[in-house]
């Protein structure tokens, strides 16, 4: 019992300095939703909007149309339009969908943005070479930013 005390204090210090993001393998899904913020901080919706449109980041508009993002060219039509998702889904559900959509929609074509295992021949980004370490497509912070932006899409 005694020996745990220094560790507990250590953990408290770490979280005071910087909350450790939930690691991809530790994300807890309940019916496809993730209650806990991955960063412990509110996301930045403005940056989330950038992540949705950027080819090197979320590139969500490759598959989804978003009326609010009409200034960003070329929206795809693989998935449903995201207009009104802030009404249709709760924040926890959106976090689950963005982190690993396969937990919500079995077998969906939508990629899992916060996952590091279970891939077949994962590549080193878009080089075509093998990945040495697999990092999630989006960081915990980017996921939270995207969720914050999606929550603004109300009808």
């Amino acid at each position: 019992m005694k020996r745990l005390a220094p560790l507990a204090i250590g953990a408290a210090l770490v979280s005071a300095a910087a909350w450790a993001d939930t690691a991809p393998g530790d994300v807890a899904f309940t019916d496809g939703a993730v209650e806990q913020s991955l960063t412990g901080k509110p996301g930045d919706a403005a940056n989330g909007r950038v992540v949705l449109g950027d080819r090197g980041q979320g590139n969500c508009v490759a598959c989804h149309q978003v009326s609010e993002m009409a200034d960003v060219p070329w929206h795809g039509e693989i998935g449903p339009p995201l207009d009104g998702v802030g009404d249709r889904w709760s924040e926890a559900e959106l976090r689950g969908i963005v982190s690993n959509a396969k937990m919500m929609f079995d077998g969906t074509m939508m990629p899992s943005f916060y996952k590091v295992d279970g891939f077949i021949r994962p590549g080193d980004a878009y080089t075509g070479n093998a990945a040495e370490v697999v990092t999630p497509i989006l960081s915990a912070e980017q996921v939270e930013d995207v969720v914050a932006y999606l929550m603004t899409l109300k009808e």
Binding site: Q65, G76, I120
Partner: protein, 283 residues
């Protein structure tokens, strides 16, 4: 059906994008080259995963389509002419050219592309057209093998494929080719890479849909080698496979690899009956 309606309604709200979304599906244009009408659409054959089967030409914009309809405009012909010169050029230690043994390419290579890739008994392997060309070079001419998906080899396969233009794709998938076919099919449906996408996710489930700025076709190979605006040169089918797999954030296979030869056979079968358009023009 319902999904499409929702997508269109969403698109209508985006005034600027409405026109691209309405485009879903192939257009109704007819491909005519030199007075000959090409088969760009046909009903699925028995066991076909696609019905109808469409050439990728039907999903390109009018300007791109037009370039393929006129050999003087088709940028691929610059390379075909270079290959026609190589055909006659003596290379290697044996003092021979392709023409020394095969004579006129128009005669000897007629129909060869239609059944590629094909099982080669002597090698005990499935060979793409490129393998046959390189075998003649290294074993019969004493010349170097040309680089897979490189400009020279793509030009030569374009010249050879042109001699089958207008003929139907007719790969042989039984006998010793059967296990290659099965391997190719398995690859086609495997969800590779960090995006976990298979060929089928895009080219079978979403034919006609826009993915960002791209209008998805069935990913057919009846037009290969293909001249692409993207890199302003000829591209082999394996080069295209490599790009598509790379874009799923995956480790690709190499052009010429057994995996891509198997995949080529399987994809050729999916387009069985389409007219060969080589050398085609794509963006």
């Amino acid at each position: 059906m319902l999904k499409k309606a929702i997508v269109l309604a969403g698109a209508a709200a985006l005034t600027g994008l409405a026109s691209t979304a309405v485009l879903a599906g192939p257009d109704d244009d007819e491909l005519v080259i030199d007075g000959e009408t090409f088969v760009t659409e046909l009903p699925g054959f028995e066991g076909s995963p696609l019905d109808p089967i469409y050439s990728g030409w039907r999903f390109r914009d009018d300007a791109t389509q037009a370039l393929e309809m006129d050999d003087f405009e088709n940028p691929a012909f610059v390379f075909v002419e270079q290959a026609a010169e190589s055909w006659e050029t003596v290379e290697g230690t044996e003092g021979k050219s392709c023409a020394s043994c095969h004579g006129a390419v128009e005669e000897s290579m007629k129909g060869v592309r239609a059944s590629m890739p094909s099982y080669n008994e002597a090698a005990g392997e499935l060979w793409s057209l490129e393998n046959y060309v390189n075998f003649c070079r290294t074993e019969r001419m004493g010349a170097d093998a040309l680089k897979w998906d490189g400009d020279e080899l793509n030009a030569m396969t374009a010249l050879i494929a042109l001699q089958s233009r207008g003929m139907p794709m007719a790969p042989v998938i039984d006998g010793p080719a059967a296990e290659w076919f099965e391997r190719g099919k398995e690859i086609y449906y495997t969800r590779y890479g960090q995006l976990e996408l298979s060929c089928a996710n895009c080219h079978e489930d979403h034919t006609g849909d826009m993915i960002r700025a791209d209008h998805l076709s069935q990913g057919q190979i009846n037009g290969f080698p293909t001249y692409r605006f993207k890199n302003t040169k000829l591209n082999s089918a394996h080069g295209r496979f490599k790009g598509c797999i790379r874009d799923t954030r995956a480790e690709t296979f190499a052009p010429g690899s057994p995996e891509f030869r198997a995949l080529e056979l399987y994809v050729a079968w999916r387009g069985q009956g389409l007219s060969i358009e080589s050398p085609s023009v794509r963006n």
